[in-house]
């Protein structure tokens, strides 16, 4: 059970699966790069966590939550597009991150190390992944309707603000555990590549919501390459 290879494989498969599922929603909403940008938003949090000797996921999550609240708030209060708002928060965090992260750990923060997974952390990440997958499943039809027309969705009783917040929270959760797997720089790969692959294979939504398998297999290859 505590075999490091097995743990890495399990974490990779669950995190990859949930991230791919969430990613299919992000790709559809043309927000694929937001996941990537948010990985960088986590960087200062990871730096602080390293300095304070706590788990980087925790630091990443706190900063992601703050970053996302800021993005959400700016999006509601200004007329700037979400892309612009994410850009502002993303470059500011990246700059802060480079100042905070201690140099010896910088590389690990940037590209992660799936081989360094402890048993309790593996359990937490599996739990979070399942939680995120359930959340995404709940909001999926509503989010799709919102991407057709926000007004139609509102008439159907879908509160856009609440759905967007749940959606962003799901992204924050998956990115904060994902940064440990792939690092801050590559976390976007978890949410972009599986749905993009699925998009090439399938034309329709119900099939595209299954980018879980490419993720799981890529996680397996990543786990084995880390071990080697």
């Amino acid at each position: 059970m505590t075999n490091p290879f097995f743990l890495s494989l399990m974490v990779g498969a669950f995190v990859g699966g949930a991230a791919g599922y969430l990613g299919s929603l992000m790709v559809t909403r043309k927000m694929a790069l937001v996941g990537d940008a948010l990985g960088h938003v986590a960087l200062p949090g990871m730096g602080l966590a390293l300095l304070l000797k706590v788990d980087v996921t925790l630091g990443a999550f706190v900063f992601l939550a703050l970053g996302i609240l800021l993005i959400w708030r700016l999006g509601e209060k200004t007329s700037l597009s979400s892309e612009t708002v994410v850009g502002i928060v993303f470059v500011s965090s990246l700059a802060m991150g480079f100042l905070i992260v201690p140099e010896p750990e910088l590389l690990e923060s940037l590209i992660g190390d799936i081989g360094k997974v402890s048993f309790p952390w593996a359990l937490v990440s599996v739990g979070v992944s399942i939680g995120v997958a359930i959340l995404v499943n709940r909001i999926y039809p509503g989010m799709m309707l919102m991407s057709i027309s926000v007004d139609l969705a509102s008439v159907e009783g879908i509160a856009a603000t609440r759905y967007n917040l749940i959606y962003l929270a799901a992204i924050a959760l998956i990115v904060s555990i994902g940064v440990k797997v792939t690092g801050s720089l590559l976390v976007g790969a978890l949410v972009i590549i599986p749905p993009a692959t699925a998009r090439m294979i399938s034309r329709i939504c119900s099939a595209m919501a299954l980018p879980v398998w490419p993720s799981v297999s890529s996680a397996a290859s990543r786990a084995s390459s880390c071990r080697a």
């Binding site: 799709m144 057709i148 007004d151």
Partner: protein
């Protein structure tokens, strides 16, 4: 045989010829047990139709005489409605002193109107007059003051203005209806009501539909759960003329079959004259409200749209 009260009543015809004798009279022919309805108007070039099998004819508007095989009938728009709909039309929606402001700018204020069962209210006004905002206010999508009261249990359907569709959206028509938990069987029924009978249509991707097809899908989607009121924001914007005609024919037919009340935002004056029970002209305040034939004259139109608006009678040929 002359019959004064036969308006809207159905006439079953034997094979022969039907002739519309007065200009402006409009009837519908329907093949018994089959859906297609063809409206005919006396001011169309052709006023005689050869009836090949058993047909039904229904009054569809205007006033005048029609000659059927073995009978001549007077069709009168003011005649009492048929017994099936004898109950007086109830008020579905009552709006009083409605106003909307955005950042201190008044979009419109003090609007008063009502909508009864099976009525059509047209909303007319220049761009930026707040027509779409009014629909959104009725739906509770924008903050407003004043009062919008609906009859208890009223279901409202909404067809928004030209939805910019993401062509990449990986959703099929069936998925789209699935969002309202509609079964595949019901989807086929709803689609056939809007004139789409293609068996594989539900499996088509939403993004590849033409704008006319998508508009029809949106109407069918709004008809899920049998609404009592349908709010329609410029149903024909961006649709070619042929499509425009059929969308309106479709709307009128749906309204008759479903007993819907309609609120219709449109720029098309011939539709306002042809279909609307009442018209509400909007230009930051109520310019006019009432039956179009009574209140719409060139002066009023000039007041709404500025100078140079003329109305040309719309003829079908």
């Amino acid at each position: 045989m002359r019959c004064k009260e036969c308006a809207k009543r159905r006439h079953r015809l034997q094979p022969g010829t039907i002739e519309l004798l007065d200009r402006g009279l409009c009837v519908e022919l329907r093949e018994i047990c089959a859906l297609p309805i063809r409206p005919y108007q006396a001011n169309m070039p052709k006023t005689c139709f050869v009836i090949c099998s058993s047909w039904e004819v229904r009054h569809a508007g205007g006033e005048g005489r029609a000659r059927y095989p073995g009978a001549e009938v007077m069709m009168n728009a003011q005649a009492p409605p048929p017994a099936t709909s004898a109950a007086a039309a109830e008020v579905v929606l009552q709006v009083s002193h409605l106003g909307v402001e955005f950042d201190g700018k008044v979009i419109f204020q003090d609007l008063n109107f009502e909508l009864r069962d099976r009525e059509t209210l047209s909303i007319l006004g220049p761009n930026g007059a707040g027509k779409t905002v009014l629909l959104r206010a009725l739906l509770g999508l924008v903050p407003c003051h004043g009062q919008v009261s609906c009859r208890a249990g009223v279901r409202i359907g909404y067809v928004p203005q030209r939805v910019p569709l993401n062509k990449e959206l990986p959703i099929t028509v069936a998925d789209f209806f699935g969002m309202k938990r509609t079964s595949l069987k019901d989807v086929a029924g709803l689609l056939s009501q809007v004139g789409i009978t293609d068996g594989d249509f539900p499996q088509r991707q939403l993004g590849i539909l033409s704008s006319g097809q998508f508009q029809r899908v949106l109407i069918a989607w709004a008809l899920v759960n049998d609404p009592d009121v349908l709010l329609f924001d410029e149903p024909t914007a961006g649709i070619d003329v042929g499509g425009e005609e059929t969308i309106h024919t479709l709307l009128q037919r749906t309204q008759r079959e479903r007993r819907l009340a309609l609120i219709l935002v449109t720029h098309d004056l011939s539709i306002v004259y042809g279909c609307a029970t009442n018209v509400l002209c909007l230009n930051n305040r109520t310019f006019c409200y009432g039956p179009p034939k009574q209140i719409l004259d060139p002066n009023v139109l000039q007041g709404i749209y500025g100078s140079g608006v003329k109305f040309y009678e719309h003829t079908h040929d």
